[in-house]
Amino acid sequence: MITAGVDVGAKFAKVVIFKDGQVVARAKALVGFDVLKSAIEVFEAALKDAGLSRSDIGRVVATGMGRNAVVQKPPINAEEAVSEVVADAAGAFQAVPTVKTVIDVGAEEGRGVKVEGGKVRDFVINERCAAGAGTFVEAMARALEVNVEEMGPLSLKSANVIPMNAQCCVFAESEVVSLIHSKISKEDIAKAIHDAIAGRISSMILRVGVEKDVVLIGGCALNPGFKPPLEKELHTNIIVPEFPEYVSALGAAVIAANPAR
């Protein structure tokens, strides 16, 4: 059976088409004000990429913040919606079968999931505070006046430790501005920013416990500056699978393929 996973995140919608245990197509795009419209566009792009139509797809499962927008809504017609942590566990297990701990950091939420055989054992969610997710890095990039893609590479050029006082996105923006005025280099500031968010995320992961293998997924995993401070805080090396931002959608597709789970 060919299945599809639709992850309607806070910022991006991701779709994975899954056939015979393999990903045959992926697509993603920004979610606009019309969530359903954005999801449909991405879904159709993925179908086109795979050379398939909706009727070729056996089951569609949705996940992510906007998952309910696509359930029973044509043409996606997702049959089921699952929570992000459930999709994370299934997807991480598919990508890295030795996974025990998943760290998923998206645009607006950070999650820690303890995985047992592809299912959720424990989880912790760092929600509703922008300082705990990708939004923080984006906002700081604006304050530093660099593109968000430059943040990671900049941070990797620094070996300095500058603790940030502010724990709020809004106050941190001002702190970054005063660091700039104090002639601290952009590299050092970028590192301080990554250290700060890594500190917050790793504290939450400690609540589910760190057990190898530790897998990092979500949009933030694309940032090369994200993993190193996390590895340092958690005293373990971390695996970032390819296409980490699609792992949750992959999980939804896997769940769609195994309805008896």
């Binding site: 303890k114 424990d122 989880f123 505070c129 502010a166 724990q167 709020c168 500190g199 939450m204 400690l206």
Partner: protein, 94 residues
């Protein structure tokens, strides 16, 4: 006096409250905390003076994260600071 150290943000309320009328300044909570979140300070709230426990300045804005390792999602949640305090002066709001 109820000294509430911590904050409320979008994700919830996180306060460690020290009842300074009960606190005898023994410092056992300071020693018990594995993450050095607490300290003894001079009472600067009234003219009586004395010593009392408090959350360190550096932890007040990130108490949710500082105390996270002692609050596992699964399993026991025996807080070392609360256990160490004989007069029961310290409480966590989460």
């Amino acid at each position: 006096m109820q000294a509430n150290y911590g904050y409320k943000d979008g994700s919830g309320d996180y306060f460690i409250t020290i009842d300074t009328d009960k606190c005898n300044g023994c410092g056992k909570c300071v020693e018990a905390c594995p993450y050095k979140v607490l300290e003894l300070i001079t009472n600067e709230f009234d003219i009586e003076g004395g010593t009392m426990a408090a959350v360190k300045e550096e932890h007040r804005k990130k108490i949710k994260y500082s105390c996270a390792p002692c609050k596992p999602v699964a399993g026991e949640r025996l807080l070392p600071c609360v256990l160490a305090c004989e007069p029961k002066a310290i409480t966590h709001s989460w």
